[in-house]
Symmetry: C2
Subunit: 434 residues, 2 copies
């Protein structure tokens, strides 16, 4: 390898050609053809892509797949997904269809409020700070009017402005807690601009009377934790309707196993993480396809899963009076305008496929795909197992072990073609107990 | 919109042409040119991409950028990143260079053990179960020999097999907890195949003596929670060396503000989520570029952040005897063989850029990029703010407010060109206090 053992300076000002030439030297081979092979032939598109990242090299391809038969609150959707794990689209498609035949995904947006904070220290009279704060908050609203005008016209803006006292936890530390509505935008730039302007107001007002104390603003930034911007998705059907997917279990037994699988994710973090990961397999596929920020959505959801002191399942199951009910409540901040959403031709295409949804509707579709994938994962795990191909291969060994006749073997192979193979299931079958 | 109000059946068996034709009808326009525009002109590549997802439509482009000057444990790296947020590569590049000049990223793999579980109920004699379990575990090792042979030759295999009793939490519920080493593979298929085989052994052994009790296997699956597969990354320099990035703060003051910013993320979940999200901005860029699974890595890390009962910062800061020390400890499971890593030409290219690292070395590089992004975010937040462009625009207003002369204004514009603008900072400057 040929990396110079000194720093490369001014790299961000290199042209793409210079960056590729640098890589040629670094790797001691001409890699330009490999990188150029992924540029887009349409110059306008290519220019847009090259602007999506500093130190741009090329376009990384991820597969874009499609999930049909998605019924959300009575509306049909065809959902685009972008994810590297090949089974995700298959799982979502299988369960979208099953649930379309059983009432579909029932979803509800439980708020879209986002939050930002101005973090500061106040070394001085705490009573004075609390008493002057309402006037400061009023001034903050006034000083941000120019920034909030556009957002207000789209139905958004600043909601609450509150002072939070954390001095018991950290000496002299407070923050201003501000909640926002951001309409169909994720709103990060809007929120941060408002907060930094508010920080100026706070700084000016609190330092105007040095005899009362001194304020030092530490930082002003939106929060990616969005428990007030969340969505609920519910699946509900008669237990008997689960027969179509319950494999070699009776629907009632399947439902009990399902309930148990979810309960385990409430008591064991090792299972909870995998359980919730399956939800994000589905959600992130839509997040990427629409140009949204998966790191923000993952961080909010996993922290939310730990909100009661231990990391648990984001879903809940209830079986009552012959009805199976499964629900997911999950925080997320998404946008259908701004960011990559607007500038990426395939993100635009994804939104077109989704009938140009509002941010709220997009949250609902994402939650539905999260549910579809989680439901599919649990269903596979408690019936065939996810390595069922391997298990099928193992069936002859079990039959031999049990001393089955050739005729029994042949019948068993047919019987287990669509059922989960296990030692006990095969033994029951051979013993004539099924 | 033209979606048929009935279910589409057999969609997964449609050819790509049929799927696109379906979209044409659904959207009532010919979308084929839009989707075809992103296919690869190389037929062999295109065939590979089309195999990455069920119901494949096209290739979604994400920008691939490069971060030079990454010094990890004395070795230089040029790191590929794939992420839609344009500032991530810029932030990583800025801080990679700063730290390369200050000793680089010190990293250490703290284990690579992964875990899987066989979940089951045992209705019977608990003492019998515990007493027979060592024999069952022995049999499990024997029955998986065929599956583990290849992995053993690469230095991996099954480590511990333990019985965990959760009957206090959930009636009759136990699981078998199995730990694995998977060499340079993420190992999901290997682990799941072993677990499902072990479940058969468990089922057969425990149901062999019905008088002792009955076992029902619920599911067998790897865990995405990997607290025994984790990496630590440390940054360390004399406080004085921070001057280059400390903006208009003295290095010691900057370091104190930095410490406070991290402390806040230990006491306030709203800040903690955003703080950790910045870490994953950097990590996920490398995860995608190398064809790894970001949902698994995010889920493990965020649950780990909540391991002590409240969701906190994944980083720690210590300032002692004039030394600034900042560290990150983070779990992750990554592979450099298998999955998309092997089949995606640009994922292969990414590994080539990284000098074909082992899984452990890739963990270290990912952790370094996570640190670079988090360090950059905090540095920006506590100095210029992340909306500094906006604030610069605001400087004339503040000067007017303070009644500055034309000459004062001109000098102030020059002075604040590379400093954070705030009301109090400008007032201090005008009052001659700086």
């Amino acid at each position: 390898m040929n990396h110079p053992k000194i720093l490369i300076k001014g790299f961000s000002k290199f042209s793409r050609e210079q960056r590729v030439e640098f890589l040629n030297q670094w790797l001691n081979e001409n890699v330009q053809p490999e990188l150029d092979a992924f540029l887009h032939s349409n110059a306008e598109y290519q220019q847009a892509f090259a602007g999506f990242s500093e130190n741009y090299l090329s376009n990384f391809y991820l597969p874009m797949g499609v999930v049909p038969n998605v019924l959300v609150n009575g509306d049909w959707y065809v959902v685009p997904m972008v994810v590297e794990e090949s089974s995700v689209v298959a799982a979502a498609s299988r369960m979208a269809r099953f649930w379309a035949e059983n009432g579909g995904f029932k979803t509800e947006v439980l708020g879209t409020e986002k939050k930002g904070q101005v973090h500061f220290t106040w070394k001085g009279d705490g009573y004075y700070l609390r008493s002057i704060f309402p006037a400061i908050a009023k001034q903050m609203r006034k000083d941000t009017e120019e920034l909030t005008r556009g957002m207000k016209s789209r139905g958004g803006g600043i909601k609450k402005i509150e002072l939070k006292d954390y001095t018991q936890q950290l000496p002299a530390y407070y923050h201003v807690d501000v909640s926002f509505e951001t309409a169909d935008a994720m709103g990060a730039n809007f929120i941060n601009s408002c907060l930094e302007r508010m920080a100026e107001t706070l700084d000016a007002k609190l330092n105007a009377h040095p005899e009362k104390g001194s304020c030092e603003v530490l930082m002003s930034i939106l929060s990616n934790y969005t428990p007030q911007s969340k969505v609920k998705c519910t699946l509900e059907c008669p237990v008997e309707a689960l027969e179509k997917i319950s494999g070699n279990y009776k629907p009632k037994h399947f439902a009990e196993r399902f309930r148990m699988a979810v309960e385990i994710a409430n008591h064991d973090v090792s299972r909870a993480v995998t359980h919730n990961k399956g939800i994000y397999n589905g959600i992130d596929g839509v997040v990427l396809a629409t140009g949204n920020d998966w790191r923000a959505i993952e961080a909010a959801g996993h922290a939310f899963a730990a909100r009661n002191g231990s990391y648990r399942s984001l879903t809940e199951v209830k079986i009552s009076k012959g009805i199976f009910r499964y629900s997911l409540t999950i925080p997320m901040a998404v946008g259908t305008v701004g960011g990559l959403t607007k500038n990426h031709p395939l993100a635009q295409f994804s939104l077109k496929m989704l009938q140009n949804p509002s941010a709220g509707r997009l949250m609902e579709i994402m939650a539905a795909m999260g549910m579809a994938n989680n439901f599919s994962a649990i269903t596979s795990l408690i019936t065939t197992g996810i390595q069922s191909g391997h298990m099928k291969m193992h069936l002859p060994n079990i039959l031999n072990q049990l001393g089955a006749t050739e005729r029994q073997k042949q019948l068993a192979m047919e019987y287990f073609a669509d059922k989960k193979v296990s030692f006990s299931a095969v033994k029951k079958y051979i013993d004539g107990k099924v």
